[in-house]
Amino acid sequence: MIQMNGYATDAETPLDALTTYITPNDLFFVRHHWNPAYQDTRRWALTVDGEVERPLRLTLADLRRFRPASATCILQCAGNGRGNYNPVVPGVQWKWGAVGNARWTGVRVKDILDQAGMKGTARHLHTFGADKPPVKTPPFHRSVEIEKILQDGIVAYEMNGEPLMPLHGAPARLVVPGWSGNHWMKWLERISPQLEAQKGFYMETGYRYPNQPGEPGVPVKPEDTSPVTSLFVKSNITEAPAAGKVGAALTIRGFAFSGAPDIAKVEVTDDGGETWQPATLDPQHDPFAWRLWSFRYQPKTAGKAVLAARATDSNGTVQPKVAAWNPSGYLYNAWHSVEIPVTA
């Protein structure tokens, strides 16, 4: 792992370790705001209150008595790729690997809220984790629009068939397929349907994205921003040979994902985007999971082959050549390219 912060722990996965459909738990990126409060699973319980007829207190055993639900989907930190923006912005300087694809198992949020008798007045699900901020740092409290969480949300207690690791939010975390990691509350201890969105720094100042693209380096007023939610279409190259030879086919591989449920195509260019050739998509897929892809390429001339990939999602959105600069460095998704020396 690539340690981006010794404590509170942040670590990204080396890009060329992200070559399988399922990212192994021990290679999955780690993102903490501050030192976590690890929970005693035997004493832990999830509180459900707010706009509900029947407030609940659910132990892990209670959660396991619900009908299990699973989703295989990617989790990406909103700031993945921040370190690639120019002008630079402060924050963890993630490059590529604050992303992974896992199978999350738990209980649909809708099933929990149905049992609690959520009132029709609720519009936002407020979410609270057990990690406590140091000194006067504001708490990491969030909310998710109720439509999204009812449709896709899971309170997950397993990751890839194993109990959630403490680093990943044990005993239970929120899973919000297609949305950035800031919605995936770890060490979840309370969910609360409410009329209004959550207040506080991490809703009103942090994790916000400009409503309209601005000039690089120019600040954006808070009223001209909205919370970061759906991920941007993106592909990365994870495997490429160290060298090639004219006339000898070589293969590059990668993954592609989006906030849309699927990827329609991945293409590769060797001429800076003048022409594109289709990559082969791996058939394995689930909604909001990534697609692995591969591309066979035969160098025609000696020198340096520069291969760039771009993805198009199931909504028809095409990955841009340049990521839209934004003051907090979120959702970097420029074309990703590799240089391969080619000999005659």
Partner: protein, 136 residues
């Protein structure tokens, strides 16, 4: 099969730092030289555990206040990877003071100067620690 796949992944991870540098983005670092493949067991045990290898701030006027103001909440990694100008560092120091970082008023300018000098826009000295997989 999963374990076998993962072992391969680890070998790839060991060679991870040898991939050609991406030409897009702002990375200016040169590709590292190829390293020999490392057996999984060696890879797991020879690399440090995540969060255990912690670098110090570089020496200089301002180090002491950086130590006392910053390290209560996060490691030096968080600071050493930044490449911020004076305006950005000033805004961040003010933000951190608001969040409880203890910076005496008469040392705030010295702290900002130290941060700009060491972690300014041309800072290219940060090398992230490569650790073993988590939970090992």
């Amino acid at each position: 099969m999963r374990k076998a796949g993962r072992a391969l992944l680890i070998l790839l991870a060991a060679a991870a730092l040898t991939l050609p540098a991406a030409s897009s983005g702002a990375s200016k670092k040169k590709p590292k030289k190829s390293s020999e493949k490392v057996a999984r067991a060696d890879f797991d045990t020879k690399l440090p555990v995540l969060g255990t290898k912690l670098a110090e701030f570089p020496p200089g006027d301002g180090k002491a206040i950086a130590d006392s103001a910053c390290l209560a909440c996060h490691s030096t990694d968080m600071v050493r990877q930044q490449r911020l100008n004076e305006k950005q560092w000033t805004a961040n120091v003010n933000k951190m003071v608001g969040w409880g970082a203890e910076v005496p008023e008469n040392r705030r300018a010295a702290l900002i100067a130290y941060l700009v000098k060491n972690f300014g826009p041309d800072n290219d000295r940060f090398e992230a620690v490569v650790t073993r997989p988590v939970g090992k």
